[in-house]
Structures are given as structure tokens and as C-alpha cells.
């Protein structure tokens, strides 16, 4: 999988590149509008992370150029603006997703994977992990061919762990992904623990071949 990150802030570019390389992606980076334009014209990417606020041009114009060339690259817009209008405009122009800064890297990872999964033509939108199958369309979990009932939030939690397997998931990243960003640590994320406990029990009862570990009360990690 080949990804392109178009971002003028070097710090952010480096973070994302470093993080995504660990996911076995080929990651290229462009720091400004013109070099991004060149790269888009020359190569095809599976997913493009596009910062719309570039100093030398509006990122949305890159998106327009991309679509006018009939390219099928997936685009995730990254913006410092949490504005619904921008979001709608970006999505209308053909972007696949919209992510507001600041974001957790695990969240970015989940978004990229979702986009790539939807793109895969064999589709089905199913992720397999050991003896476990996670169907993102039907939002169901099968372990050894047996369908297990998960409620909406349990599925979201598990899916987030699965796409970020073997990574430490910081508590607030999980809370934001599942409950939305109004759930902040004023509420103290202890309640997540009881959710994880339930999920763990379900997985264990059905003989899932994986484990969700708590890491020093800071976060969790799905180890395969």
C-alpha cells in the first residue's frame, strides 16, 4: 500500500510518516502544494492524507485536480478547521473522510484502514485476525465461524483494537473514537474499563485467540 501525506508542518509529517511506516505502508511526503501536484500527476496512491491549509495553495484545489484526472486515489482531508461547511465541501469534492487536528494517530490509522478496506474490490469489508472475523458492513463478529452478538459500542471498541493491533491505545483515543469527542477526561475514563472487561469476557468465552491487555492504567493493547 502506498500512501502520500501532504502536510506543510514538518513535525506532523514526520509523526504520521513514522507511525504509518510501522504499519508496513510505503509512505511518501510532500511539504507544499507544488510538490504535491507533481507527485499526484506522476504516481498513483492508495490513500492521500491532505492538509487543506497549505501555505501556497488551497488543498481542496489538489482534490479538484485529482478528481478531474479521474484518479481513484482515496483522500482523507486533515484540517485544523473543525468546520462543517469545509467538511461538506471536501466530501462533496470526493474526499473519503475528514479528520480534524489534533487527532490521535490510532484514530488516523483506523480511518486509513477503513478507507482502504472500502476500496478493496473483493470487498466484503471483513477483517480476519487469527480465528476471528470482523465484518464491518454487518458489524458482526465471528469466532471460529460462530456469530457473537456485540452491541454498537463493543463492536466499535473491538474494531478499533483490531485495526490498531499490537499498539498501545491511549484511553482518551479509544473514548473519542467510540463515544465522540465530547467524552473527555473530566469524566475520568474509568468507565471504559468495565466495557473492556465485558468485551474480554465475551472474547474469552468464545475462545478468541487474542488478548486485550491493560497497560498501567494508561491504555490498552490488543496482542495477537
Amino acid at each position: 500500500m502506498k500512501l502520500l501525506i501532504i502536510e506543510d508542518e514538518q513535525g506532523l509529517r514526520d509523526n504520521v510518516t513514522q507511525f504509518l511506516q510501522k504499519e508496513q505502508y510505503t509512505v511518501e511526503a510532500a511539504a507544499d502544494f507544488h510538490s504535491a501536484m507533481e507527485k499526484i500527476a506522476l504516481y498513483d496512491y492508495d490513500c492521500i492524507l491532505l492538509d487543506v491549509g497549505l501555505p501556497d495553495g488551497n488543498g481542496l484545489n489538489l482534490l479538484r485536480a485529482l478528481k478531474s484526472k479521474q484518479k481513484r486515489d482515496n483522500v482523507i482531508i486533515i484540517s485544523a478547521k473543525d468546520s462543517l461547511d469545509d467538511k461538506l465541501e471536501g466530501l462533496n469534492l470526493g474526499a473519503d473522510d475528514y479528520l480534524t487536528k489534533p487527532f490521535h494517530l490510532a484514530e488516523l490509522n483506523a480511518r486509513i484502514k477503513a478507507v482502504l478496506r472500502r476500496k478493496a474490490l473483493d470487498g466484503g469489508n471483513v477483517v480476519k485476525l487469527n480465528n476471528m472475523e470482523l465484518d464491518f458492513n454487518g458489524r458482526t463478529l465471528c469466532i471460529d465461524g460462530v456469530t457473537i452478538h456485540l452491541n454498537r459500542k463493543e463492536f466499535d471498541i473491538l474494531a478499533f483494537f483490531v485495526v490498531n493491533k499490537n499498539r498501545l491505545i491511549y484511553k482518551s483515543a479509544l473514548a473519542e473514537h467510540v463515544w465522540g469527542d465530547h467524552m473527555d477526561n473530566a469524566d475520568n475514563f474509568d468507565f471504559i474499563y468495565s466495557q473492556i472487561k465485558n468485551l474480554r469476557k465475551k472474547l474469552k468465552d468464545h475462545g478468541a485467540n487474542l488478548e486485550i491487555q491493560a497497560i498501567y492504567g494508561v491504555g490498552y493493547k490488543l496482542t495477537v
Binding site: G11, D82, S172, V218
Partner: protein, 426 residues
């Protein structure tokens, strides 16, 4: 006191002064003129009598005034040569007035060709000083009344008309509010002073509006600009966190740092949201079903409520709907619900009541009422909530103001009750 009456007050006070001085000056100059002309008449008379006496010596024997106005008596040569002609005021019994009246008398001396010396006294009636003063005062009083009355009428009629642009400006300014979209229209006028004032006020307001906009823009821009460095810092710490696995103390420190950066992010987002609400960037409206939306948002808090053993009850008295921006409705509801959970105690309860034009969220909590003056201001938070942004209720207030809705707080029967009432027009 109105400006109109101020003018009148100063005018009447100064008129008293001016008219008094004028009366004194007028009196003396008139008296001088009167004396002058009477004395001239006497001189003329004197010459006529002397001329006549030189022809008709019978005249020289008229030693009493009687019916005429002169008297002649012979005098010594020495006395005549030493004496000088003089005018003086004297009094004389007047048959007509039956009283002594002031008369003007000329005493002069002449000689006939026969070297006989005579003293000639001529009198004429004088203006009566006291009568004159009385008349003058009387006239002055009327003049004063007339001037004040006309000034009053002119003030009321003309000045009111002239000052109209001023009152219009005043009216415009009273209706003007910084931060509202209303533009300021100075009233049209042909009076240079008012035109100047209108222009000055218009310029001043324009500058103020610009500063206000800049300030609002600044908060928005600053919040925007902070997002990227915050993102980078959080992400770097996340990367470091992954590499630091196995070392608990370091992991805790890093997690702690992330926690604070996230708090800053939330602060930043809330400020941005406030600016956006105030800048009216949520214009898209739809019909929002509050009963349904309240339940849907409460669903997100289900696990948290369960964890804290807080019971949530619903009382749907009516269907509550209104034209509302959907995102703002969600923000409003989550902020209020979260407020009711965060400020609650474990094992407490929350009651959501939906009425025809309002909904109320009542919760158990600390057994004291909150400070209603401060609870909706920015960065106000109770002492036990150090990690909250202190902006949640400020956002609620801003949303209420945006929709001219009412948000209020009551503390009844040990329950904190926050209600949100939609305006009737919605």
C-alpha cells in the same frame, strides 16, 4: 433637565442682568436728553423775552410768574456782574396736579440799553423722574415677559425642529449593540454640526466594530493556529509512549503529559466553538426533535451513567420541536447532560423533563445552590472540578443567546435544575 430648559434658564437669568443695566443706562441717557432739550428751550425763551423786553419796557415790571412762565426783577449792577446764569430743578405748586411738581428753572441776568440790570427767571415743567422710573420698570417687566415667552415658544418650536437630527442620532445609538449584525445609519441632516457629529460617531463605531471583529477573529485564528502544534505534540508523545513500553513510571509521565495537552485541546476547541457561535457561523437550521435528540445523546453516556450508578429518568410531558442548527442542538444537549453527570455523585439521579417549549435537566449533586451570576461565565468552575474547561455552560449560554432562547438555573428540593426554554416564535 432638558437642553431646551437649560437654554431658557440661562437666557432668563442673563436677560434680568442685561435688561437691568440697559434700564439704568437708558434712564440716564434719556434724562440727559430731556434736560438738554428743556434747557435749550429755556435758552431760546430767554432770548425771546430779552428781545421783547428791549422794545416793551412794560415787561420789565412783571415780577411774578402768575399765569405765564417767567418773572423779572431789577437787581444791583454789582450783583448782576458777579452772578452767572444757572439751570436748576425746583418745585412749584401746580393747580392742575394740585401738588408740588418738579420744574426746571433758568435764572439769568441781562441789562437794558439804559444800563438797568435785571434778573430773569424762566420755568418750564419737567419730566417727573419717579413716574418715569416706574413707567420704565413697568415696560421692562413686560419686555422681559415677552422675551422669555417668545424664547420659550421659539425654543419649543424651532429648536425642537433643529435638534431633531440629534434626537434621531440618540435613538439610533440606543438601539445599537456591538456584535450584532445591525449596521449603524446616521440620520440625514443639513446642519453642519450634526453632520460632523454623525460622521464622527459613524467613524468611531466603524473603528470599534472593526476592532471587535478583529478581536473575535483573533480568538478564532489563535485557536486554529494552536491546533497544529497541539496535534504534533500529542502525536510525538504517542509515538514515544509506544517506544517506552515496559517502563511504567515513564509511561505514566507521558500519559500525564498527553492528558494535559488534551485538556488544552478541549479548551481550544471550546473557545473556537464560542467564537463560531458568536460569529454566527451556524446558520443552517432544520426542525430538531428535542425529545429524540436528548435520548440519543443520553445513549452515549449510558456506560458512564452505569459506571457511576446514576439513574436517569425521563418525563415527556410534550413534544418539543424547534428550528435549530443540528450541531448546536447536540452541543447544547451534551453539555447539559455532561454537566448533570459530572456534578453528580455516584448513586445519584438525573431527571430530564421535556415540556411544550422547554426542557429541564435536574440532577442531584452538592447540597448548595450554584452561583447563578457566575455559572454561565467563561472559565467559571467549582473547586472540585479542576479538569473541566469551565466553558461548557458558557457555550450553552452562547447558544441560548444565538437563538434568543432562555437558559436558567434553579435549586429546588436539593436538585440542581437547568432549563432551556425556546422562544415562542420557533
Amino acid at each position: 433637565m432638558k437642553l431646551l430648559n437649560h437654554t431658557l434658564l440661562y437666557l432668563s437669568a442673563s436677560l434680568v442682568f442685561i435688561l437691568s443695566i440697559w434700564a439704568v443706562v437708558f434712564y440716564f441717557s434719556m434724562m440727559e436728553e430731556v434736560y438738554d432739550s428743556i434747557d435749550d428751550g429755556l435758552e431760546n425763551y430767554k432770548m425771546l423775552i430779552i428781545k421783547k423786553a428791549s422794545r416793551d419796557s412794560l415787561l420789565l415790571t412783571k415780577s411774578r410768574f402768575d399765569e405765564s412762565n417767567y418773572a423779572i426783577r431789577p437787581i444791583d449792577r454789582e450783583f448782576a456782574l458777579r452772578a452767572t446764569e444757572q439751570f436748576k430743578d425746583t418745585s412749584m405748586y401746580m393747580e392742575y396736579e394740585e401738588d408740588y411738581e418738579i420744574m426746571r428753572m433758568l435764572t439769568t441776568y441781562f441789562s437794558t440799553p439804559q444800563a438797568q440790570y435785571y434778573e430773569l427767571k424762566i420755568i418750564t415743567s419737567m419730566v417727573e423722574g419717579d413716574d418715569l422710573v416706574a413707567d420704565l420698570l413697568h415696560a421692562l417687566l413686560w419686555l422681559y415677559v415677552a422675551v422669555i415667552a417668545s424664547a420659550f415658544i421659539i425654543n419649543n418650536w424651532v429648536l425642537r425642529k433643529i435638534w431633531r437630527p440629534f434626537y434621531q442620532l440618540q435613538h439610533e445609538l440606543r438601539g445599537f449593540k456591538l456584535g450584532e449584525d445591525k449596521t449603524f445609519n446616521p440620520p440625514q441632516t443639513k446642519v453642519t454640526e450634526f453632520e460632523d457629529m454623525n460622521n464622527t460617531v459613524a467613524e468611531l463605531l466603524k473603528a470599534n466594530i472593526a476592532v471587535f471583529q478583529q478581536q473575535k477573529q483573533f480568538i478564532e485564528n489563535a485557536s486554529h493556529e494552536l491546533q497544529t502544534p497541539l496535534a504534533i505534540a500529542i502525536n510525538k508523545l504517542e509515538l514515544l509512549l509506544e517506544q517506552t513500553q515496559g517502563k511504567e513510571a515513564q509511561v505514566q509521565l507521558l500519559a500525564n503529559a498527553i492528558q494535559y495537552l488534551e485538556r488544552m485541546t478541549r479548551l481550544n476547541k471550546s473557545l473556537l466553538l464560542l467564537s463560531k457561535i458568536e460569529n454566527r457561523q451556524f446558520s443552517k437550521e432544520e426542525t430538531v426533535d428535542f425529545n429524540e435528540r436528548l435520548r440519543r445523546q443520553a445513549d452515549d453516556f449510558e456506560e458512564l451513567l452505569h459506571y457511576r450508578n446514576i439513574q436517569l429518568d425521563w418525563i415527556d410531558n410534550a413534544k418539543l420541536q424547534g428550528r435549530f442548527n443540528a450541531d448546536l442542538a447536540d452541543v447544547l444537549i451534551t453539555n447539559l447532560l455532561k454537566n448533570a453527570i459530572v456534578h453528580n455523585y455516584d448513586g445519584g439521579w438525573i431527571t430530564v423533563t421535556v415540556g411544550k417549549d422547554e426542557f429541564e435537566i435536574a440532577n442531584t449533586g452538592r447540597p448548595q445552590p450554584l452561583d447563578t451570576d457566575k455559572m454561565f461565565t467563561r472559565f467559571y468552575r467549582s473547586a472540585d472540578q479542576s479538569s473541566s474547561t469551565g466553558l461548557g455552560l458558557a457555550v450553552v449560554k452562547a447558544i441560548a443567546q444565538h437563538y434568543q432562547a432562555e437558559v436558567g438555573y434553579r435549586y429546588v428540593d436539593g436538585l440542581h435544575r437547568l432549563y432551556f426554554r425556546l422562544p415562542h416564535l420557533m
